[in-house]
Amino acid sequence: MNSHFLEIDELVRSDHWYLEPEDECYYIGEYTARGGHACSETNQLIHNFKKSLERRGRPEWNYKERAISRIANLIRANIRNDAVLTFVPIPPSKSKDHPLYDDRMSRVLNFASSGRPSDVRELIVQVRSVEATHLSNERPSPDDLLQNYLLDEALCMPEPQLIFLVDDVLTTGCHFKAAKRLLSTRFPNVRIVGLFVARRVPNSDFDALD
């Protein structure tokens, strides 16, 4: 049986405190790792997917490649063949000119939409590299993040019919809110949906580090 997407509804929304009822968001699994252990399939998937580029070339790198194709397949299986939509990755913490820039999510989305009418556009450009939010001490607000985002005007036409903003782990919802704000200013009539590989549950390692 194919895994269905899950909806961020009233049962779980308060775990992601920037999200509001009008934010339409879906997720595939729950990130629940605690105390450095990561046994469950979703926890392992996220760990492998986020492996730093510094580990490229090591045997463990294979796990990352496998995580990329697994996530792509999970998304692809849930999107109809004929669906017309635009996938937009939420930018990773390193900007494109950084040696550790990781295009893992763009690869997932390209794979998920290959041979289909959906497209992938890196509409949001991060100006400066930042420390991954889960490694830094300060908690930026969506407004802070927004100052570091630029819209790639060259990719804006034709206007998307529906946008899926995609990220690996939903924590507070801060990045999603900033990205959604940027896109909805440029495309006020386009429906913007959040899609996350996992949402972190409170008290997981993502909280300790966030």
């Binding site: 269905h4 046994c39 999107i79």
Partner: protein, 294 residues
């Protein structure tokens, strides 16, 4: 907001509504784990919310949330068949559950080595001693100890695992909103906070019927406990013990079943030989367990 029907190939799951729908299925007078499992067998791929009406979901939701709030529980989660985090091992059960509640560290569900240690609610001193000894060795070998939080052997299994610095999972026969037996309240809360607590028991239905009917939930959870584990060890059990439900379930699910030699040596017990003929393993010393698990 329009639905994404023309975009998504599977209808997205609303955890809250599926929770209410599962509870609503159980609110039907004659519902049992078997009738509910049959219903899903006949309608493969269907979600609980597709088997009950919208007003039923709304009504049940309100009732269930009230019960949860009254119990002061804010840290629970759910798992539902059809989503990525549902443990497929549960499908080995004769009447697999479509839905369950959990509290604590879900990650333990996939601990690489999981073994259920179960037995009598009124164990002998020797039984308790044997349970402690085996759990200590299992923890030292890296096993997560799964049990049912009942009086007696289950309690010894959980507490010993925790005392030895190991991990434990409790699959309870009451809803997450109840504490049973009452003397295990602190243990249940500790497991819910630091380890993993699982319940398949519907909150609303349980609140509406007497203990006479609710006690039927106890043996039902043993099938789930067995399905979640790679093997079950029976420390001690009478001829009429609920523990034997788990023995039958383990063999039916193709899980290893270990029975302590002391059970075979008790002349009053008829079940050890019976299960041995069906494939259970007699445990004379700890190596009999280790050798059969690796």
């Amino acid at each position: 907001m329009n639905s994404l029907d023309s975009i998504l190939s599977n209808k997205p799951i609303s955890p809250l509504r599926e929770m209410a729908a599962y509870e609503a299925l159980w609110a039907h007078q004659n519902a049992t784990f078997k009738t509910i499992a049959d219903c899903f067998r006949e309608n493969p791929g269907v979600m609980p919310s597709e088997l009950v009406t919208e007003p039923e979901i709304d009504e049940t939701l309100e009732r269930v949330l009230d019960k949860i709030k009254l119990a002061n529980i804010y840290d629970y989660g759910i798992r539902i068949h059809g989503s990525e985090d549902y443990p497929n091992r549960l499908r080995s059960a004769a009447h697999p559950v479509e839905f369950l509640y959990y509290r604590g560290c879900w990650d333990l569900i996939e601990a690489p080595k999981r073994i259920a240690v179960v037995g009598s609610r009124e164990p002998t001193e020797d039984g308790k001693r044997r349970a402690r000894k085996i759990v200590k060795m299992l923890v030292a070998d890296g096993y997560t100890i799964v049990s049912g939080l009942a009086r007696g052997i289950d309690t010894v299994a959980h507490t010993t695992a925790i005392e030895c610095g190991g991990n434990t999972v409790a699959v309870i026969g009451t809803p997450i909103t109840e504490h049973y037996p009452p003397e295990n309240r602190d243990l249940q809360e500790k497991i819910a906070r630091d380890f993993l607590l699982i319940s398949q028991v519907p909150i609303w239905r349980y609140s509406q019927q007497s203990f006479k009917y609710n006690r039927l939930f106890f043996p039902e959870r043993n099938a789930t406990m067995s399905a979640l584990s790679q093997a079950t060890i029976i420390i001690e059990a009478s001829n009429t013990s609920g523990t034997l439900t788990q023995a039958r379930a383990a063999l039916h699910q193709g899980r290893k079943l270990f029975i302590l030699d002391s059970c075979f040596r008790n002349p009053e017990l008829t079940w050890p030989e019976r299960f041995e003929k069906q494939g259970a393993i007699r445990v004379v010393d700890y190596d009999d367990i280790r050798a059969n698990l690796e």
